[in-house]
């Protein structure tokens, strides 16, 4: 029905914006809280759900058209000389998947939030910001030009900042928001430079055009070094998608409300970097060096984040480091050329990580704000729905066979090992070790939270209650998707658009061996966690005491924050304070005062010539006249 709705794609993006405007004006302090909680929830949820419905319709249209990309020009933004900047939307297999995930997972998290944020004093503001985030995220995934993508890219950064610092009364939350914002800006500088390079070479920022030019090897594409552009764009991606060295903001971003952590900092926004790379795969296919860097950074991020997650005691921090680690897996896949597989992992990760975060939110909700897993335990029978959904999602991320995470992670491992475009056994080894650690720390989390005896204080234990249906319903839906999401063959679906890398032939017969190894690793992680935390608490304590220096290093998160503080923040503060503030005081004030006193002193000296003696003046006039006469007599 393209006749009825000529601007379906624009409408998908704009619907959440309407929600933002309505809630922003009527349900916040700005409009004097004219709309109550019920109205705010209906407005806040209806628009994302409508956007989801429209996305399904657009997807069906796409399918009916034989998956020819739908291009929908909306508006000419600017015309400078001969180059025009269009706001156009682009809908192909890749953006279809991303849009479905964003609107789908986004909608259910909105519904969940109606329960989680119930009775918060800024209820309307929360929904307004959440809708604003969806708008920018949809702009990001639907934009045809890099420019539109960039607007969305910055917009989600803004929304993320607003939502991390949602409870800004507490200074640490506000600081966490600021940290996220500033860290992202560093990455964005790289992204912008990459965009400038591309624009200089092609005179356009339309991503399909640029990709096509690189893939066909046109002469223009030869001018720009693909690796340089690839690396610059990757710097942008490391900021947004929390990779080494810019990952430090994501763990702190857990200061925001839990639905925000689920939606923005697990399921959607942080995968924007992965989407960008997959979208610009034409460049990366021509840039083996950039891809190599990406694979190495990805696997290192995955590995180190997983080691940190082993010892965290805050339920959300474990999940945060787990997210960083999983994003590392995605970049590993991108680095070895398996773009479709990375997107596959984005989708399954969106399901199970959203489920885990929302489950954690349900636990926190039940315990009245407690996040320390050392003060939990024994919740299995008290909040059974949360427990079962959390367990399914844990199994999914750990890679227990048959669940969603197993399929996507196993494909990543396989391509890391055998891809002809940069796969290497050591990449596989690191990734497999990370997978083992993932299984271990996730089951550790599950055990410490839900199993064993209760370590809660009596008062907290008394108040434990299962969450309302708006939350548990969403949990069940996401658990279902975590279990079954792996059967959607996304790499296969995307292969028509972004081909998978070829496999090194001599390694082909290893596939089943590796499969068995990863299954064994998943169960080994499970077994290890059960052995350590299923038994008496003294056992875990003994192991901790046995490896105290390592434990300290890990729970200190390798002291990266401290390192950045010493190496970057402190010198900057010093420079601003001493050189810029006090130095400029001296320089500016000093130069102005100097000029003034110079004028004063020279005036004093010149003033001395005014002796007040008329005779002297007359004499001087005379001397002057005589001098002039003498001179003219000599020279004329």
């Amino acid at each position: 029905m393209p006749l009825l709705l000529p601007h379906t794609l624009a409408l998908i993006a704009l619907l959440p914006l309407f929600g933002f405007l309505l809630n922003g004006f009527f349900a916040t302090a700005l409009g004097g809280h004219r709309a109550n909680e019920r109205v705010a929830s209906i407005v806040g949820c209806a628009f994302p759900i409508a956007a989801f419905a429209l996305t399904i319709k657009a997807f069906l249209d796409l399918q009916a058209g034989g998956f020819t990309p739908i291009v929908e020009p909306l508006y000419r933004w600017a015309l400078i000389g001969s180059s025009s900047f269009e706001i156009a939307f682009y809908f192909d297999r890749l953006s279809a998947i991303m849009t479905l995930v964003v609107t789908g997972v986004g909608s259910v998290i909105h519904i969940y939030s109606t329960g989680y944020m119930h009775a918060d004093k800024s209820y309307g503001r929360f929904f307004a910001h959440l809708n604003l985030f969806l708008f920018f995220m949809l702009l990001l995934v639907l934009g045809r030009s890099l420019l539109v993508l960039f607007v969305g890219w910055e917009g989600v950064g803004l929304a993320s900042y607003l939502l991390i610092g949602f409870w800004f009364d507490d200074l640490t939350n506000a600081k966490a928001g600021r940290k996220a914002f500033i860290t992202n800006r560093i990455g964005d500088a790289g992204f912008l430079l990459g965009m400038f390079l591309l624009y200089r070479a092609f005179g356009t920022l339309d991503m399909d055009t640029i990709n096509g030019a690189f893939l066909t090897g046109s002469e223009v594409a030869m001018i720009v070094p693909a690796s340089l552009v690839g690396l610059l764009l990757f710097i942008g991606a490391t900021g947004k998608s929390a990779q080494i060295p810019l990952y430090v903001w994501l763990p702190d971003a857990m200061a925001g409300p839990t639905p925000v952590s689920a939606l923005i900092h697990a399921a959607t926004m942080v995968t924007a970097g992965v989407y960008l790379t997959a979208r610009m795969s034409g460049i990366y296919m021509m840039a083996p060096e950039a891809s190599q860097v990406m694979a190495v950074v990805g696997v290192l991020t995955a590995f180190f984040a997983a080691t940190v997650a082993l010892v965290q005691t805050d339920i959300k921090k474990v999940l945060a480091y787990s997210t960083v680690s999983q994003l590392g897996f995605m970049f590993l896949a991108l680095g070895v050329g398996a773009y479709g597989v990375a997107i596959f992992h984005v989708v399954t990760h969106a399901f199970f990580k959203a489920c885990l975060f929302l489950g954690a939110g349900s636990v926190i909700h039940a315990l009245g704000g407690e996040q320390d897993i050392r003060k939990m335990g024994g919740l299995r029978t008290k909040i059974p729905v949360t427990f079962w959904t959390f367990a399914i999602a844990t199994a999914a991320i750990a890679g227990i066979p048959g669940l969603a995470g197993f399929f996507s992670k196993d494909e990543i491992l396989w391509y890391a090992f055998a891809s002809a475009k940069g796969g290497a056994p050591w990449l596989w080894g690191m990734a497999a070790l990370t997978a083992l650690m993932t299984a271990f720390y996730m089951f550790r989390l599950l055990w410490l939270t839900f199993m064993g005896a209760s370590r809660m204080s009596h008062e907290v234990e008394h108040h434990v209650h299962e969450s309302p249906i708006s939350m548990t319903g969403v949990l069940m839906l996401l658990a279902l998707l975590s279990a079954g999401g792996g059967y959607i063959a996304i790499p296969h679906f995307l292969e028509a658009q972004i081909p998978l890398p070829p496999i090194v032939e001599s390694l082909e017969h290893y596939e089943h061996t590796l499969l068995i190894v990863s299954i064994v690793l998943a169960f080994a992680g499970l077994g290890l966690a059960v052995f350590m935390y299923g038994g008496p608490p003294s056992r875990a304590e003994a192991i901790k005491q046995g490896s105290l220096p390592v434990h300290r290093l890990l729970s200190g998160k390798y002291f990266v924050d401290e390192l950045y503080d010493r190496a970057i923040v402190k010198p900057l503060v010093w420079f601003s304070d001493v050189v810029l503030l006090r130095g400029s005081d001296k320089l500016l004030d000093g130069s102005l005062n100097g000029l003034a006193s110079l004028a004063q002193r020279s005036a004093g000296m010149l003033g001395r010539m005014q002796t007040g003696s008329l005779h002297l003046y007359a004499l001087l006039v005379m001397v002057g006249i005589v001098g002039a006469l003498l001179w003219s007599w000599r020279h004329v």
């Binding site: 005014q610 007040g612 005779h615 007359a618 004499l619 005379m622």
Partner: protein
């Protein structure tokens, strides 16, 4: 020494005398009179040159100078009067309010 040279020397002497008076005398009125002396020294030279060249323009110019000198004195005397009333003195050295 012919007449022209003599008159020119006289003119120069008058001018120098006036100048000396302006420079050394401290009485404001005397200074004004000395200025008139300088003016008349110049007038004398003008008339002398006019005679020598047989051209009346120089003599006419002298009348113009007289007129201007009269007007100047008509302004200068009241100014001196005001100053004297202000300072109760004719001494020019006491008029040094604008000294730097």
């Amino acid at each position: 020494m012919d007449r022209v040279t003599l008159l020119l020397w006289l003119s120069g002497a008058l001018f120098s005398l006036g100048l000396l008076g302006v420079i050394v005398r401290r009485n404001a009125l005397v200074m004004l009179m000395c200025m008139e002396l300088m003016l008349n020294g110049v007038n004398l030279s003008l008339v002398t040159f006019s005679q020598q060249r047989g051209d009346a323009a120089g003599a006419v110019l002298v009348f113009l100078v007289f007129v201007v000198a009269t007007a100047e004195i008509a302004l200068a005397i009241p100014i001196v009067l005001l100053l004297v009333r202000f300072k109760r003195s004719m001494d020019i050295d006491r008029y040094s309010d604008l000294k730097g």
